[in-house]
Assembly symmetry: C2
Homo-oligomer: 364 residues x 2
C-alpha cells in the first residue's frame, strides 16, 4: 500500500526510529546515515502519515475557525487573514460555517463539530451572555466579536464604542446635523449593534446633537440588501438625513445603493460612513469611508493567543485584546476628492486587559 517508515527503514538498513529521527530533524545522526535515509525517502516517495503522528503526539497542527458564513465579505477577509496567520505558524485551518442557526454554534463549542483540531477560533453570532457556560470548554479557545464578554477564554474584540463614537463625531465635524444610524437592533443589549449604537449616541452627545429615534433604521441581518431596505425606509418615510453611520460596510453599501436609486448625492446630500473597512469600500461608487477595526491584527492576535494555549506557553488568566482601530476617510464623506485614495483621519488605541474583570464588563 502506502510507503511507511518500515519500508524506508528496510531500504536504508536502519531502524524505524532512526527514520523517524531523520524526519523530525533530530540532530545526532551521522551524516552518512541521514543520507541513506533521505535517499530511501526520495526513492520510495515516502510521505509521513500525519494521522499516525497525530495519534502519537496528540497534536494535529490544525485549528478550527468557526464563522457565520464566508459569503459575508467581512468574514471572508477575516478567514483569509486567519489562514495566513495560521500558515505562518505551521497550522492548517478548518472552517466551520455556523450560519445555519444557533444549534450549529452550540455544536461547535460542544465539540460535535470540532473534528480533530488542536483549538478553536470562534466568532459567534447567535450565542450571547446567557450561554456563557457553554464557553467553559476543555480545549483551547479564542473568542472573537462582541456577543460574549467574560467567557473563560481569550477574547479578541474591537474598539466598538470608541470607534463608533469617533465615526459619528467625524460626520458631525463635517457639518452634518441629521445623522442616521443604519443597522440597529431594537432592544438588544449585547453584540456589535448595541455597542456601536452606544458609540453613536456618545458621538451625538459629544457633538452636541440631539438624539432622534426617527434617525435609527433597524436591520436584523447585516447584508447589503437589508441596508438598502433600511435606508430606503428612512428616505421613503421622509426623514430628513444628511449623514449616515452604517453599523457595517455591507449595510453602508446597501445604503449607498438606496441613496443612489433615490437620486441623492453622496457626499453632497448625504455623507456615509461604514464599519469594517472591507475591500469593497475602496471600490464602491463613491468609495466608502469606514472604520478599520484592525482585522489583520485581530487575526494575528487570535492565532497567537490560541497557539500559546495549545503549546502551553501561556497558562495564566484569560486576556481580552483590543487592536487599534482607525477611521479611513474616502469619497463618501468627502474626505478625499473623487478618484483620491482613502486616508486615516483618526485612530482609537486598543489594549489588553483581563478577560474577566472584577466588575461588570465595560463596553470598550
Amino acid at each position: 500500500m502506502a510507503v511507511t517508515m518500515q519500508d524506508v527503514a528496510a531500504r536504508a538498513g536502519v531502524s524505524i526510529k532512526t527514520v523517524s529521527n531523520v524526519v523530525n530533524g533530530y540532530p545526532h545522526i551521522r551524516p552518512a546515515t541521514r543520507e541513506r535515509v533521505e535517499e530511501a525517502i526520495d526513492h520510495l516517495g515516502y510521505r509521513i502519515n500525519e494521522t499516525a503522528r497525530s495519534l502519537r503526539t496528540r497534536r494535529t497542527d490544525m485549528i478550527t475557525l468557526a464563522v457565520p458564513e464566508l459569503s459575508l465579505p467581512y468574514f471572508a477577509e477575516l478567514a483569509d487573514s486567519v489562514i495566513q496567520a495560521a500558515d505562518d505558524r505551521g497550522l492548517t485551518v478548518l472552517i466551520e460555517q455556523t450560519s445555519h442557526g444557533r444549534e450549529r454554534e452550540v455544536d461547535v463549542l460542544t465539540g460535535k463539530r470540532r473534528n480533530m483540531t488542536d483549538g478553536l477560533i470562534f466568532s459567534p453570532l447567535e450565542l450571547g451572555p446567557e450561554d456563557l457556560a457553554l464557553f467553559d470548554v476543555d480545549f483551547p479557545l479564542v473568542v472573537l466579536g462582541e456577543r460574549v464578554f467574560g467567557a473563560p477564554a481569550d477574547h479578541v474584540t474591537m474598539n466598538n464604542v470608541a470607534a463608533a463614537k469617533a465615526a459619528t463625531v467625524h460626520l458631525a465635524s463635517l457639518g452634518r446635523k441629521r445623522i442616521a444610524v443604519v443597522g440597529g437592533h431594537e432592544g438588544e443589549q449585547v453584540g456589535s449593534a448595541a455597542l456601536r449604537t452606544t458609540g453613536y449616541r456618545q458621538g451625538l452627545d459629544e457633538a452636541g446633537l440631539p438624539y432622534d429615534p426617527a434617525l435609527v433604521a433597524e436591520a436584523g441581518l447585516w447584508h447589503r440588501s437589508t441596508g438598502a431596505e433600511a435606508m430606503g425606509r428612512l428616505l421613503d418615510d421622509g426623514v430628513e438625513v444628511d449623514g449616515v453611520f452604517a453599523l457595517n460596510d455591507a449595510l453602508a453599501l446597501g445604503a449607498l445603493h438606496a441613496l443612489h436609486t433615490r437620486r441623492l448625492d453622496v457626499p453632497g446630500d448625504v455623507a456615509v460612513i461604514g464599519f469594517d473597512d472591507i475591500d469593497d469600500a475602496r471600490y464602491s461608487v463613491p468609495t466608502l469611508s469606514s472604520v478599520d477595526p484592525g482585522r489583520e491584527q485581530i487575526a494575528q492576535t487570535a492565532v497567537d493567543l490560541l497557539v500559546a494555549r495549545i503549546t502551553g506557553t501561556e497558562t495564566g488568566p484569560f486576556r481580552r485584546v483590543v487592536p487599534d482601530s482607525r477611521i479611513i476617510g474616502r469619497e463618501s464623506t468627502g474626505d478625499v476628492p473623487e478618484g483620491g485614495e482613502g486616508r486615516p483621519v483618526a485612530v482609537q488605541e486598543g489594549g489588553t486587559e483581563p478577560a474577566q474583570p472584577l466588575t461588570e464588563p465595560v463596553a470598550i
Copy 2:
C-alpha cells in the same frame, strides 16, 4: 487524561469492541447492552478520538479546498458553497490559500500541503497545461477552472466560451457597437482569460461587429483595482466605447468605478456586463449584469465527484462536467429599470463528457 473507549467499556462492563460497535451503529446489539454503553458514554462524557479512528480506517472525512484567496469574492462564495455541499455529505473542509505563488500550487498537488485529507478540490491559478504531469496524483482530485484541461482527474469547469459569446451578443443586441473587453491576458493561450476572450470574438463575429484591438484592455490580476485601471486607461486614451464586457465581476465593478469617476453614465453612455455573478453584482451602483456560471452546481458536482472517488463508488474514466450558465440582466445593461430585480436573459446548457478526449481539448 481524556476518556477512552477503555473507560467506557469498564464502566459498562463490556469489551472495548462492543463500545466501538455501539458508537458505530452496529445493528446486532442487545438493547440492554446498548443502553448500558450509552449511559457510560454520557456519564463519562466520552468523545471518540477521531485521530485514532482515522489511523485505523484510513479515512478522515476531511477534504482540502485549495483556492487562490478568500478575499476574492468569487472564491469566498465558492468556498461557502463547497463547505455547505461537503457538510451535507458529512465532510469537513480544510482550506489552503495558494495565492502566494506557483510553488504553493505545486505543494498542494505534491501533498506537501495536504495534511490528512481524503481528497482535494483544486482551483489552480498559476499552473497550466505544461504542468499536466503534476496532476497525476495518487489521491482523489477534482480540478476546477480553466487552467488545465485533460488532467487525469475529474474536472468541473464553466461554459466559458459560449457564455462569453452570449454576453457579447447580448451587449450587441442592445445596440452597442463599440464593445470593449476588460481583463485580457495578451498572448495567453489557456485559462479563463483566453477562453472568455475567444467567446468575445465569436460574439462580435456573430453580431457582425469588427474586432478592434484598441478595445482590448489588459489586466493581469482580476481585482477591482486592476479593472478600474484598465477601464481608465481605455477611456483616457480616448477610445470610443459604448459597451464593456469585463472578464469577471471584480473587473466590472472596477470598470464601473472608473466610468463613474469620468462622469460617464451606465448604461446610458456605456453598458457593462461582468462574469461570475458574485453577490456584489446585485448591490453595486448601478446593479451589474453578469454571467452566472452555476456556482452552486459547480460546488455540489465537485464534492459529489470527489466523494465518489473517495468511496470508490466511481472508478471509471475521468469526467468533465460543465454546469448550465445564465446571463443575468440588471441595470448596467438596462435590462431592468433602476431599482428592478435582475433576471435571466439567456441560458447556455452544460453537460458531461470524458475529461480526456481523444483529440486536443476543445474549448467549451
